[in-house]
Homo-oligomer: 256 residues x 2
Amino acid sequence: MCQLLGMNCNVPTDICFSFTGFSRRGGHTDHHGDGWGIAFFEGHGCRIFRDYLPSAESPIAELVQRYPIKSTNVIAHIRKATQGAVNLANTHPFLRELWGQYWIFAHNGNLEGLPNDFGDYYQPVGSTDSERAFCLILERLRKRFSALPEHAQLCQALREIATELAALGTFNFMLSNGDWLFAHCATHLHYIVRHAPFAQAHLVDDDVTVDFSEVTTPNDRVAVIATQPLTDNECWHKMAPGELICFRDGYPEPVA
Amino acid sequence: MCQLLGMNCNVPTDICFSFTGFSRRGGHTDHHGDGWGIAFFEGHGCRIFRDYLPSAESPIAELVQRYPIKSTNVIAHIRKATQGAVNLANTHPFLRELWGQYWIFAHNGNLEGLPNDFGDYYQPVGSTDSERAFCLILERLRKRFSALPEHAQLCQALREIATELAALGTFNFMLSNGDWLFAHCATHLHYIVRHAPFAQAHLVDDDVTVDFSEVTTPNDRVAVIATQPLTDNECWHKMAPGELICFRDGYPEPVA
């Protein structure tokens, strides 16, 4: 299985601290050594760094740790391959354009028997179940709505699609268009929302502590979502199997 | 105006030498300081590095210069903004999926009055004429061919679309799907094909020399395409206005 990391906040924030711990799970403190990737939204622009080297050894991962890219929505992934060879085309996160917006997707799990009713608008390039699931989600959305719908309609559609695909295996995923970050839990997904008064946090995977009160303002809200908690002195919420949460401006909104 | 750099070769090759000279034009030896980007195909996977900082100052550009990513098709761009703000959504190269392949595009020039007959399949995210032109190209291809056509048909379609759009302004562009690299010249585009016996090359923009005979095999063929020649001791071919070339395995094939 893979590991996921996401961040959603109300002001552009860098993810250097969380990514430092997370990337060590890619071949160092854990065995997810089949590539990694991270996508940053900056406005509606997006940049993705990807490598098929283990994140613990990748020069690009080292750059991402020390170059503070400020973003309101981030999705990162370290891969333990289940379906598909270890190459760049199979490395998450995946990107497509829908309704004039970039959408980013990463998946932890394994799906079998995905439907074939897509391909009019979106086709996978690589050979993973994950990219096929992403294309299927976007195809369904695109066929249902010709333009970005009302938020409630979008949530309802994603709720239905997530439930359908989750029946095919293990479907922990994160999906973002730069405004919202949707997180769906099948087995393992945890989140924390940091806000004032900010405190110190200490990584599980590395002996690094940060005092968030020194790097934030009182109005900041930062939600961090991860397969397993990244810090050992904070209280992370464990998501329930089947739970879908839409994070917006650092606030978690369950999608019923 | 912007500057373009492309590479097409028959074996995966790194572009560190050419990019070192090219990136210095982004705010150092030239004034193209409104961001830069570079896309590498590795198989049919693709990674893009982008920054809105000038390439001469960008830590990401510095990484690309020293991290030898081997690729058969590369497109890079440094931007001098004409239409659209300086931000990530407006930074070339642009990426979309067509027929289950990633396609990459970068443009040097300015187009006015682009047609609006697209949007069924592709929509721009940013506000540049360049991304609109790219979406228009893909939309036309997608509507004409439901899957990747024969090479001659693809060339013919691109020839027609390039001629149509070139009538709207200045349209130097590069387009690649990882197999071919199409280069269209409106005003300035030069190329060189390096093959055995390999010799030394010296950059225009930096006092750097490389002896390609030390880093190649006798069967290598590497085409490098750039707005202005990157070396001062080799013979670059100047493309003619309106000329469209399809580069494949390092061979230039004019598209009549």
